[in-house]
Every structure is written in structure tokens, then in C-alpha cells.
Assembly symmetry: C2
């Protein structure tokens, strides 16, 4: 097995932390997004979506999409469980993971990729170049601020994001907190629930992955 | 059980088709997005994300996010299988379903919500009003055109979206084709693979759901 990775990018980090929580040892191959290596024909033959992470299985199949890769790994290595056990718990974890990913990480990505000089005409992943749109910087910042509000509210109701134990939704939210620093956002001093949760999640060995 | 629904919206339709494929009979309650009923306090108490679909379980739990609802229903009613059986197949189906949803449906939603007069200051779902951004109409149209290209390429490699049988990824792609008509897009005459697939999927009784 092999993980196509890029150390600084948030989505590969979600998968690296998931792998660390599972106690697995999967070799990584760095795809240097800094030099746009994801657009080289050799990598496009691996993942036509031009994105990391991608996982090459032992049989040579390629999986992309962080969440799909994590589901594959949990299928092979069910313990410790990070995706839920009952139908209800599985759905609740998926619901929260998607909210964190699509709303909160999506907001940060929108602000970041539309403002950072390294992403001129690369405002979206994929093979096509799309110009940065300044309006999306403001919108992304506003949505990120909102996201940290509802995340703090949620963590006032629940010890972890999806319930009373650590799951994939906490991995996504933890990676979000690091990613948000690139746009100078994150939980504010008033977000006490989030800081309580962040202290617990940061103390896990997987946080270094 | 009860599904909070809106007949014209694409995401509830994904769940209705999934329910029809399972042969289930789940009562629906219409939430009239046309009058912005999703923003009423009564509905926000059900789904703070102000979005349909949402599923109320027999125990009174609320699930939102179409994909999570479908995973819940498959957990309770495993046959016919629409989400995969082996870890690899499950991950491949999830990967394709996400590509169709996040890239292709996301593109159509971007063009549609930023141009339609019914969505002035409602360019994103959720409780906050965000102005329409004209730049996103062009970007969404371009991304939708691209999406129908790679979908046709994929359907030249594979009988169905995720492999050799009908899965949730076909439901999402079928709903996409209907949704795209709102922005005057869809498979072109040249997309013969897509038309072959669309004829098969449209002939299923669930297509009426």
C-alpha cells in the first residue's frame, strides 16, 4: 500500500492522522503541490482529479477522496473504530464529518485559495485553472467565523464532535483548526468548549501525523 | 420515520430515489423552500443547518446530509445493496459518489444559485444570507461543462458510474442530470456513453421518485 501525500495540505493530513489512530504503517510518496507536481502526466495517470491524498492498494487499485480512503482502511482494520458501529452512530458521525468538511473546511479553503499568492489561477483543485475571486475571500472568512461559532456550540452539547468519543469527525475538525491559521482564523478566546476539546485532541499521539 | 422533503430540490430527490430502490415507504413532510420555510424557528429546531432532506428516525433522532441518511437506511435495510459490500467496493462507490456530488452537482448549484432570481441573497444554504456573485455563474457553468465531459469518459470505461452495477453514485448522477437542466446543461449529443447509461437509469421505477 502507498499513500500519495503532501505534508502541508489539510486533506492528506486527515488521512495520516486516521492511519496513526489505526496504528498502521503505510509508506508515503510526496507529491510536491508547491511545484504543481499533481498536474504532471505521471500523477494524472494515478489520480485524474489531480489531488492528494490518493491511496494505492496492495492490488494496485487507486482510491482518492480522503473520506473514501478512510472508509477503506476501516473496512480492513476495524479497530479502533472511528466511523461508528450501529447504523445510527455511523450516520451521525458521517453527518458531523461532512458538516465540518464541507462547511467549515470549505470556508477556509475558499478564503485561502482565493487570496494566497501561491494559488493565483489555482483557486480550485483539479486540472483546470480558475482565477482567484476576491469576493470569495470575504465570503470564506465570514463562513469560517460562523463555523467556529457552531462548532463551539456543538462542543458545548457533546464531548467530541459526533458524540461521546473520538471519531473521524474530530480528526477533520482538528485539521480544520490548523488549516484555519493560514487565514488567521480559529477558535476565539471565548470558544471555551472548543479549547477544552482541542486540548484533548492535541494530546493524542496522532496529532503529530 | 419521516423525511423532511422538498419536491423540486435535488438533494431530497437523491434520498427519495434511494428509498424507492430499497422498496421502503417513509412518510414525507414538505418544507416549502419557496417560502423559505427552512428558516422558520420550528424547522431550525429540527435541522439547524436549515436544509432538506432531514430524516426523523423512529426514536426521534434527526439526521441531515443526504449521504448520511442513505447510509443509515442501508444499515437498517441492507438489500438491495447500493453502497458496496467489500471495503474496496464501498470506497470506490463513495469516491465516485463524492466526485459527482462535490464537483458536478456543486458546479451546477454554483451557477444556479448565483443566477436564479429566486435566490437573491440566498446563494448558499444555511441561516446566513450571502449575496449572489456573478463571477460564480460563469465558473459554475464552466465546471458543469467539464463535469459532463469526465462523466461521459467514465461511462465509457464502466457500465455504471462506480462499476458494473447500479449504486448510489448513479442516483446522484441521475439527479445531477435533472438539476443541470435548470442551468441549461446536461450531456451533449456527443456524450453517447452518458445517454446509454441515462436510458437505463431513467427506465428504473425509482426514477419517478
Amino acid at each position: 500500500m502507498k499513500l500519495y501525500d503532501y505534508a502541508q495540505a489539510p486533506n492528506p493530513r486527515r488521512v495520516r492522522i486516521f492511519i496513526a489512530e489505526k496504528g498502521l504503517d503505510i509508506p508515503v510518496e510526496e507529491v510536491d503541490l508547491g511545484t504543481r507536481a499533481q498536474l504532471n502526466p505521471e500523477f494524472l495517470a494515478i489520480n485524474p482529479s489531480a489531488a492528494v491524498p490518493a491511496l494505492e492498494t496492495d492490488d494496485g487499485d487507486i482510491l482518492s477522496e480522503s473520506t473514501a480512503i478512510c472508509h477503506y482502511l476501516e473496512g480492513l482494520h476495524p479497530e479502533p473504530n472511528l466511523l461508528g458501529t450501529t447504523p445510527l452512530e455511523r450516520a451521525q458521525i458521517m453527518m458531523w464529518d461532512r458538516r465540518i468538511e464541507l462547511e467549515a473546511m470549505g470556508a477556509v479553503a475558499e478564503a485561502f485559495r482565493n487570496s494566497n499568492p501561491g494559488f493565483v489561477n489555482r483557486s480550485l483543485t483539479g486540472t483546470t485553472n480558475y482565477d482567484q475571486l476576491p469576493d470569495l475571500v470575504d465570503r470564506g472568512q465570514a463562513r469560517a467565523t460562523e463555523s467556529f461559532e457552531w462548532i463551539n456550540t456543538r462542543l458545548g452539547e457533546s464531548e467530541y464532535i459526533a458524540g461521546d468519543r473520538f471519531t473521524i469527525a474530530d480528526i477533520t475538525a482538528f485539521v480544520l483548526c490548523g488549516f484555519a491559521r493560514w487565514i488567521k482564523q480559529g477558535p476565539t478566546d471565548a470558544h471555551e468548549n472548543t479549547h477544552r476539546w482541542l486540548a484533548a485532541v492535541s494530546a493524542r499521539p496522532s496529532a503529530e501525523a
